[in-house]
Amino acid sequence: MFLINCPFCGERDQSEFSSGGEAHIVRPKQPTELSDDEWAEYLFMRKNIKGIQFERWNHVHGCRKWFNVVRDTSNDKILSVYKMGEKPPVNYK
């Protein structure tokens, strides 16, 4: 069970959060311009990384804010948290 450092509330138990999958997938601004394949790429394709992963979490039973998390999926260590709209930390790749 993770301890997640909500950028708005501080460290809380994982049970207060829900996971929202891979981060930094931007909804296309002009979906109608996209081919089926391009749209499918946005809609369905997600990475399944062993190692450093950027992901979205929602403090659903707290402040209800979405934010980003950098997590090493091989040991579940959370390396960084940052707010929506902020640039991902560069030292992880």
Partner: protein, 1000 residues
Amino acid sequence: MPNYRIHKTEYIDETKRISFKFDGKTYFGYEGDTLASALLANGIHLVGRSFKYHRPRGIVSCGAEEPNAICQIGSKKDLTEPNVRATELELYEGLQASSQNCWPNVKFDIGGINNFISPLIPAGFYYKTFMWPKSFWKKVYEPLIRLSAGLGKSPTEPDPDIYDHKYVHYDVLVIGGGVSGIIAAKMAAKNNLKTLLVDDKKILGGSTIYQNNESIKIDDKLSSEWLKIEIQEIKKLSNLTIKTRTSIAAYHGYNFLLAKENLTDHLPEEKKKNKIRQRLWKIRAKKVVIATGSIERPLVFNNNDRPGILLSNSINKYLDYYGVTCGENIILFTNNDSAYETSISLHKKGIMNTIVDIRKSASSELIKQAESLGIKIYFNHVVTNTFGYRKINSLEIMKLSEDGNTTVGNKIRLSCDCLGMSGGWTPMVHMHTQSGGKLDFRDEDQVFLPRENSEDQISVGSCNGDFDLENIIDKTVNKINKFLDIDNQDYQDTNIISSKENDKRNIWLLPNKIPLGKTKCFIDFQNDSTAKDIKLALKEGFRSIEHVKRYTTTGMATDQGKLSNMHALGIIADTAGVKMGTLGTTTFRPPFTPLTFGTLVGRNVGKFFEVVRKTSMHEWHVENNAEFENVGQWKRPWYYAKNGENMHDAVQRESKAARDSAGILDASTLGKIDIQGTDASEFLNRVYTNAWSKLAIGKCRYGLMLNEDGMVYDDGVTTRISENHYLMTTTTGGAANVLSKLEDYLQTEWPELDVYLTSVTDHYSTASICGPNSKKILNKLFPNLDLSDENFPHMSFKEDKLENINCRIMRISFTGELSYEINIESKYGHSLWKKCIEAGKEFNLTPYGTETMHLLRAEKGFIIVGQDTDGTMTPSDLQMDWIVSKKKYDFIGKRSLYRSDTIREDRKQLVGLLTDDPKEILEEGAQIVSNVKSKPIDMLGHVTSSYFSPNLNKSIALAVVRNGKTMKGQKLIIPMENKNINVTVSDTIFLDKENKRLNA
């Protein structure tokens, strides 16, 4: 009755005699005993039968690793408990225990015949044998296996005990209260760290607390005496909490651990009453010190499972802690020094004993001590067989060859009434590996050790492979200072004298002249698997340790292989000719020892099992015989059983009344989201399929929400309250998810929008009144409100007061009738409802539940998201193309509506179905076909909603059917178990296609 209690100890209170029953017979023990020690004091070793061969089995150990002494305790239907280890169960007055794995009784056992046909029960026997004929499984094999397997009985009535949960935070958690745990806890607490020390036993001290060997001393005291002073000292530390009878069940990531505290299991029954039985501690610790010690290994030789064969150190504990000797003529069979401590203890108490040691020689302090006491030692010898059916009475030893691979010379027969075995020690690395830690193998004494890999946890003491006391204390102190970044000097001058083991020899499967196929060398006592089984599995091609484990069931019993896993690994490594370190181990999974369901569930039982949400009208529904339906967490009236009606009759009556005169529904559970902000209209445009910009203030509109994949997600009516203020309703079950999804888009995709979302579901209660007389009832409630179609048309909204209380009234309809929804602050909901009922009396205003609501909307062909849809339906599939805006550039899911798959013509589409026999009601979920003759039958779809309509006096149904849009008028078949039902595809709207009733 024989008495094997031969001396007094400070841990047994002989002034407090306790009577208990074992297998129906009454015995006596004392306060401080476990069931196992009390049985041994009465000379009882035989406590059960083995799982597969039903061989007589005795107590083997004194702790959590016990494989044999597994009991059923308690005799009541609600309080009996299986799988209790007699070695851990503290004795209490009135305890009733029985051997678990024996039928009809422990001394005469039909299953014992398996012992003589055992060549027929090899590894994988159950997989291989009971496979065919298939029809035999249910009637013959399963009852037979169950009857003789004896896995214990579960209670047949609800558990009356109270269980509790508690969440705690500590700077440091120390697991295990032996020497190293006590030192670690003291160092942490004295350094001002909030510390928790847990130990599964009744008292702290581990195995050192009864240590009385003169060659092991600390500061000139016996190690046990020194430790008692330490314990006194730590009990005074204010920021140290000590929890005994508390065992860690699981070690999860981020130092989150679960511990089970036993609070009343040791008390007599009358004292258990109304007390919390067990508490589950949910612990978050910044740092964790693992000091869980080690478990003595058995040795694997022929017939090593007879009653009277115990672990050597357990014999020592029964003697020095409980004052009980396990025999009068004991042989100790060992490959290491620790059995010598037992031997010397036994000798001191005048118990005759002999040592058989597989090592060629040995030279530590302990061995010199044993030799000087004149104890007979057979070095370089091995036990090759044991004798005695219900208890061991003698054994055979032989000399080992130079390489240890075989035996040489003559057999020597030695008589005995007890055999202690010691195959070395296995560090308890369970906690370390559960936390994600890896292991390294130390060849020298063949142990897996924790690999230090974390700043947050550390292993100290014998669970870290440090076995002699000097080493344990020195290393623990150094490691803890470093781990906690402190500089504690308390143990700097501690003077420790301990015996160092110099000589090591390990043979996983001891040699024998008898071919392996004819021996019984047990590895897993509880699951009855032998060395032969492991070798057979390897012969049959199994290589992975995980596969061998499952095939032979080694290590899969309730003890999870605490005594067996290492030997299984060792034999596999030796046979396959690989190094044990490269083989790896099986996975150590929580819980370390079994947990009761009660502990896991805690107080969340009965009415606290799940959160229950009730509307403010709930009490009225209860008083008026409502049957309730669970919708999410909500309790919704399902139907109101008037004068003992059944559901069908009630629903028919309610539905008829709603269309003939008036009906009222508690609609408070619908999700309500308050939407405000200058971009609220734009936001609705993006989340719904239809257009919202032009919705006038005071008007309502139905909206359909899709997922980004184009599938229908939710629906509901949204009202424009003012320029920048909307009230959205969602389905009852979807409310939380819809809010979450909307927040997600708002915060992550469209942060530029000025929109604020607030859930107001619980803030308002809603009474929905429908039917031709609803306007008259409204008029009575709101006499000043102009209800004319001109002023208050369908799909519009007004505010008015009901006795000075503000109400929001929407003229919207889910039944197809003229209909009003009155919303009021929740605290007035109950009185609003009562006023409606009162006002409606003269019009036969009939309260109706969700079932009637479903029926009425089905007559009108309105969908229910989640019933007629299942996450694979597009608006077009639902024949609702009219609600999808062609003009809007984008909305959630729009692009997916013309993917190649969503524009397929032959998708499943919503249709109506009419049965040829109007009285026949279809089953929801029933399959739909066009032809039952050609096989395989082509499945076209299924029924999603089905009712008998009292207003149409016929059966109606909604269904999804492949290509359904083009099939109107076509005949289809619903094949049921005993008959085929003929149906005709129809329109989805069955009643009032022209919507005349909305303005009746």
